[in-house]
């Protein structure tokens, strides 16, 4: 039977006529995944905020909960010694991700998008770290930056006892060793996203630009860059989210202590550490939640509102 184009009016009328079975099916099909997402992601997110106003040790039941008002937050912002370095490291992570892997990934993508020989091989090599787990990148960090056995110290002649550089143990150096390896992985990720974006830029536009005498930079700045806008937004979101999620590499190295504190490791230490402090950990998590929602909600809102209009 051929499909007859229906007027919008008739189509709407037809859509209203679901059988009872269809209605049940559709409700279940959307309802079950939605319920899971709400129960395991959004309710815990709300509970995080609620719990942050209580004192609660991990072992006790609900009867052990004591209202604490803003006490947890007061402690975090005034006397908790781990908080300033953690925030500092998260911001540093964000800044480095924004200023190194993002532009470098774009630069590599633009170069690889030119029709040069062996482009696929270059792409694959740069992309390799993206499939590796962040935990494995943590082990790699230990291998590469190990003081006596590592690649870096052995290559630069700093593996001897008299001029040893303790990359992982020195609290002023170790965050940089970690960031180098984090960038190693992030650059390939960003490059792949930009390459996909560049593929959708009409090559004839660039050709036209260069026929009109635009140099490479001008063609990029005025033709390619504006066309990459949707991808740029995705890269900004990925950069922010990955910096806030950063956890695995530092946890492998020293569980996020001694120069490697991050918000994520402080939260974890407060639930599975020796002293389980649910309320206090929740207050830290609420700070992380608020920062990430400040980026996520506007992104999701504008994406889908635009989607809806088109």
């Amino acid at each position: 039977m051929s499909a007859i184009p229906l007027s919008p009016h008739r189509r709407r009328k037809r859509l209203m006529r679901y059988t009872k079975r269809d209605r049940t099916a559709l409700t279940l099909m959307a309802g079950v995944p939605l319920l899971l997402s709400i129960a395991f992601v959004w309710l815990p997110a709300l509970a995080t905020v609620a719990l942050s106003f209580f004192n609660w040790t991990g072992i006790g039941g609900f009867s052990d909960m004591k209202a604490a008002g803003f006490e947890n937050y007061r402690i975090i912002f005034t006397i908790y010694p781990q908080f300033p370095p953690a925030i500092e490291h998260n911001l540093l992570w964000l800044g480095v991700f924004f200023f190194i892997p993002a532009p470098f990934g774009l630069f590599l993508a633009v170069q690889l998008n030119k029709q040069i020989r062996a482009s696929r091989i270059y792409q694959s090599i740069l992309f390799l770290p993206v499939v590796l787990s962040l935990a494995l990148v943590g082990f790699m960090t230990e291998l590469v930056f190990s003081p006596t056995q590592g690649l870096v110290n052995n290559l630069t002649g700093h593996a001897g006892q008299n001029n040893l550089i303790d990359w992982l143990g020195n609290p002023r150096l170790n965050i940089w060793a970690v960031l180098i390896m984090a960038c190693w992985r992030q650059t390939g990720y960003v490059m792949i996203l930009f390459l996909a974006g560049l593929k959708s830029v009409d090559p004839s536009l660039q050709e036209a630009a260069s026929l009109d005498g635009a140099n490479e930079w001008q063609a990029f700045r005025h033709v390619v860059w504006p066309a990459l806008r949707p991808i740029n937004i995705v890269v900004v979101v990925v950069t922010v989210i990955e910096s806030l999620r950063a956890f695995d590499i530092v946890y492998i190295i020293n569980q996020g202590t001694n120069g490697l504190q991050l918000l994520s490791t402080l939260i974890t230490a407060n639930i599975i550490g020796e002293t389980s402090r649910i309320g206090f950990g929740s207050a830290l998590a609420t700070i992380l939640l608020v920062i990430s929602l400040a980026f996520v909600l506007p992104y999701v809102y504008t994406t889908f509102r635009k989607d809806n209009r088109s």
Binding site: I116, I125, A196, I267
Partner: protein, 309 residues
């Protein structure tokens, strides 16, 4: 200057276009310089992996004598057999399979159903649902872990499913959180993909009397095979690579999937970097298979999500 001013002159003869293409690729010395730059970058990029591979092939005693960055001594697979046997790697691989495969299948199944409702129908709540799914996937795991951990140690499970008698420390618990967390991304990608399937196809099926379920299962889902393959590759890698959920929600060491288990093992068994390298290579193996055999699917999974962003 805008793009419009550049495209204004439409004087692109065949010759001119060829010239422009050549210009875009750059002159000969420029291209040589570009290749040099890319080769150096790639050497730096692959160095850590090659270093780990090289170290893993040498016995500890040899590297102790010759140093780590050196040539000479023995090359064999003894580190691999030691890591495989002494660290119980087969057990942890099995744990990873028990968690990853069901989580992957359930995620794709649930996500494709939700995507079908969102993409093929115009209910008022669709937009809100998409936002809930997508935003949920973008939250940092650590922002929700505290109540989740409390929830997991409270919900009781029969002893056959969990060593602790609760949802924590159970395979089911890890599968559930992976499904709940990853469904968001898959709904987003699949609903974008399903929107590209022409309306007429399901209209025709409906006229023929197909129920909503049959339209989903027999009409739309088979057409989504490329997107499902891409997502399966991506999600397999992500779930297999998970470290955080398993570290916090699976406290019993012997139940951990391999990515998280390696962390305990380094403290317990491994004292030398050669052995850690070998174990890392073994753990990386499934993801390296993805890299060598399924790279196209992996990349298209990533970019399916990004392009519509």
């Amino acid at each position: 200057m805008t793009a419009a001013t550049f495209t204004g002159g439409q004087a692109s003869t065949e010759q001119g276009a060829a010239q422009a293409r050549k210009k875009r690729r750059g002159s000969r010395p420029m291209r040589a310089f570009l290749h040099c730059f890319l080769i150096v970058t790639c050497v730096v990029w692959i160095a850590p992996v090659l270093y780990a591979l090289y170290t893993s092939l040498r016995p500890y005693a040899d590297t102790a004598v010759h140093g780590y960055v050196s040539v000479g001594g023995h090359y064999n697979l003894s580190n691999y057999t030691t890591a495989w046997n002494e660290a119980d790697l087969p057990l942890y691989f099995k744990n990873s399979a028990i968690i990853t495969i069901p989580a992957l299948l359930i995620t794709l199944w649930l996500a494709s159903m939700a995507a079908f409702v969102v993409a093929r129908h115009s209910f008022k709540l669709n937009l809100l649902m998409l936002m809930i799914f997508t935003a949920g996937n973008l939250l940092p795991q650590q922002a929700i872990i505290t109540p989740l951990y409390k929830l997991y140690i409270t919900i009781p499970l029969p002893a056959s499913l969990s060593d602790s008698g609760h949802l924590d420390d159970s395979f089911l618990g890890l599968i559930l959180i992976h499904v709940a967390f990853q469904t968001g991304f898959c709904v987003f990608v699949l609903s974008n993909f399903m929107r590209t399937v022409p309306v007429e196809i399901t209209e025709a099926a409906r006229v023929d009397g197909a129920s909503e379920w049959r339209q989903y299962w027999q009409v739309v889902l088979p057409l989504c095979r490329p997107a499902l393959a891409a997502l399966a590759t991506l999600e397999f890698t992500w779930i297999y690579n998970d470290f955080f959920w398993a570290t916090v929600l699976m406290q019993t060491g012997s139940n951990r999937p391999i990515t998280a288990a390696l962390n305990n093992l380094t403290g317990q068994f491994f004292t030398d970097n050669n052995l850690i390298s070998a174990a890392s290579m073994i753990v990386a193996l499934p993801t390296l298979v993805v890299f060598f055999a399924l790279q196209r699917q992996f990349v298209s999974g990533l970019t399916l999500g990004a392009n519509k962003g």
